[in-house]
């Protein structure tokens, strides 16, 4: 992990409040890892954790949704602007170890880390992506996924409802999931029935991003774990979900 200043290569609006930021970063990155990004001096004070969307040829891409102060500033970045980055952070996934049929399940912007994961997997990969409104970032997955299933609560062109309604863990050897906590909990519960191994990418507010502040912990069977450095990838069956 390293703290440094890097340059923006590009920052592209994909749709409404979804952007893809490309930064000139040469690091060796594992799928599922993230960076703490900061593109401001005084305020806000904390950096924002954003997952690696993809990494190749000295460019690391981040797909993000504008939520508040920090991501709003990120959305205004232009080529050549400076960004402070701390990373790559987190355990990530050793994708090369995974074999067989694999399902990637995402909810909303939880699709962001899935691209780098899909790229690293050797088995047969299906994507199940759920959205509130219209889908985004799907095109890039076509190269790496056999089947792509999309659900939307509002866009009638797709399955109308939750993505968990059209996914059957029985068909898969491994499931990897990233999205809102209630959705991840649902997926883990479904996978438990068939004893399908499932990994989840957890999220929490972060201050340090290095494991020092203990602000980002989640509950697991072995007690409190730091999402930033012990995660963000956890075995779904180890996590004790809140609610």
């Amino acid at each position: 992990m390293e703290y440094k200043e890097v340059l923006v290569y590009s920052n592209v609006k994909v749709q409404d409040d979804i952007y893809v930021l490309s930064l000139e970063i040469e690091d060796d990155v594992r799928a599922g890892q993230f960076y703490m990004l900061k593109a401001w001096e005084e305020e806000p004070i904390l950096a924002r954790p954003i997952s690696v969307h993809s990494s190749e040829n000295g460019i690391v891409k981040f797909a993000y949704q504008v939520k508040g102060r920090g991501t709003k500033i990120l959305s205004s970045l232009k080529a050549e602007d400076k960004v402070y980055v701390l990373g790559p952070v987190g355990n990530g996934l050793y994708t090369e170890k995974f074999k067989g049929k694999i399902a990637l399940i995402s909810g909303g912007i939880g699709i962001a880390p899935m691209l780098q994961i899909a790229k690293g997997l050797e088995g047969e990969v299906d994507l199940y992506a759920g959205f509130n409104k219209s889908p985004y970032l799907i095109d890039e997955f076509k190269k790496y996924c056999k089947n792509i299933h999309i659900a939307s609560e509002r866009d009638t062109a797709y399955y109308r409802g939750f993505i968990t309604e059209i996914f059957n863990p029985f068909e898969y050897n491994i499931v990897i999931c990233c999205g809102p906590e209630p959705m991840m909990k649902r997926v883990v519960d479904m996978c438990k029935i068939y004893a399908t191994p499932v990994y989840v990418l957890m999220e929490n507010k972060m201050a340090c991003g290095v494991g020092a502040c203990l602000g980002c912990t989640c509950n697991t069977k072995e007690g409190k774990k730091r999402v930033c450095v012990d995660g963000p990838v956890f075995k779904g069956t180890d996590v004790v979900f809140s609610a």
Binding site: M1, E2, Y3, E43, P44, I45, L46, A47, Y84, L86, K205, M206, A207, C208, V210, G211, A212, C213, L214, G215, C216, T217, N219, G223, K224, V229
Partner: protein, 302 residues
């Protein structure tokens, strides 16, 4: 070599510069290994330790606000024995003074903790009295000077390690608190810990934190922290270690001019992991520019 101008002797311990990292913001040091050169720091202060392991608080633990952040970690820590077994040796490898921040939920906890630490190779104990006192219905030990005095007294009896008492800015009277702690045997005073604050989630119509209140830290608290360091430095004859909202070398020099021998960097480590190193370099540069030969020339100058 102009490095030596930054030397500080504090409670008999040699610090190569006055810049320490504050408890709870730097883990056990190793977390920042490789991100900055830890060997350059003046000293390391551990996450608050208690006699027994603590899991800390449920729910939201950190919340950013303008000018700083609120935290409600709840003293999550592995306990003193595990610290000694698993972390202390690694910390010593950084070859800088090691200060253990000691917390407790009863006076007996503090005493037993200090007894164990007394037999280790640590350089100093920072007594964190901003902890909820279970016997007193959870009221902080650091609010009433009579209660704080008792804790310091009892810890003093069981250890020869230098004791630096870390004051809560929420104390009823910060100067009286400092004076009473010194009377009870404190070798030094550090201040301030976090300010009691809160935040509301307006959509849930509930407090953000399960405990309602949380500790406020960061740049916004600096003027108040500085005032308290100034007042306490004038009132006690033991050395003072100042902190609260220090972000750059100018802030650090303000604290030194207000009377601080050492300073600590807390929240600024999150804002910029290199903050402590940049502050050391900044103080050094300032001293050269201003032709200051030793920190003694400017300490407590106002």
């Amino acid at each position: 070599m102009w490095f030596s101008v930054l030397n500080v002797k504090f409670c008999g311990v040699d610090f190569k510069n006055p810049v320490l990292v504050a408890s709870g913001t730097f883990g056990f040091g190793v977390e920042y290994d490789g991100i900055i050169d830890i060997t350059r720091l003046g000293g390391l202060i551990t996450k608050g330790l208690t006699l027994n392991k603590k899991e800390g608080n449920e729910g939201v633990r950190i919340h950013e606000v303008r000018g700083g952040m609120l935290n409600s970690i709840g003293l999550q820590n592995p306990g003193i024995d595990e610290f000694i077994e698993k972390h202390l040796q690694r910390m010593k490898e950084f070859k800088v003074p090691i200060i253990v921040n000691l917390g407790g939920s009863s006076i007996e906890d503090y005493v037993k903790g200090a007894e164990i630490l007394d037999k280790t190779e640590i350089d100093m104990i920072e007594l964190n009295i901003s902890c909820p006192n279970v016997k007193e219905g959870g009221m902080n030990f650091g609010i009433k000077s009579s209660i704080a005095k008792e804790v310091v007294n009892r810890v003093r009896e069981v250890t020869k390690k230098p004791i630096m008492v870390k004051l809560s800015p929420n104390a009823e009277d910060i100067v009286d608190m400092a004076v009473k702690c010194v009377e009870a045997g404190a070798d030094a005073i550090s201040l301030v810990n976090t300010f009691k604050g809160m935040a509301v989630d307006i959509y849930k119509r509930k407090p953000v934190f399960n405990n309602i209140f949380a500790g406020y830290s960061g740049p916004a608290i600096k003027p108040i922290a500085l005032r308290m360091v100034y007042e306490v430095s004038k009132a006690v004859d033991v050395p003072v270690c100042g902190l609260g909202g220090i972000v750059d070398y100018k802030d650090a020099i303000e604290f030194i001019m207000a009377g601080a021998y050492l300073i600590q960097i807390g929240t600024a480590n999150f804002i910029n992991p290199r903050a402590s190193i940049e502050i050391i370099e900044g103080i050094e540069k300032f001293m050269i520019e201003q032709n200051i030969k030793s920190l003694d020339e400017i300490r407590g100058i106002i």
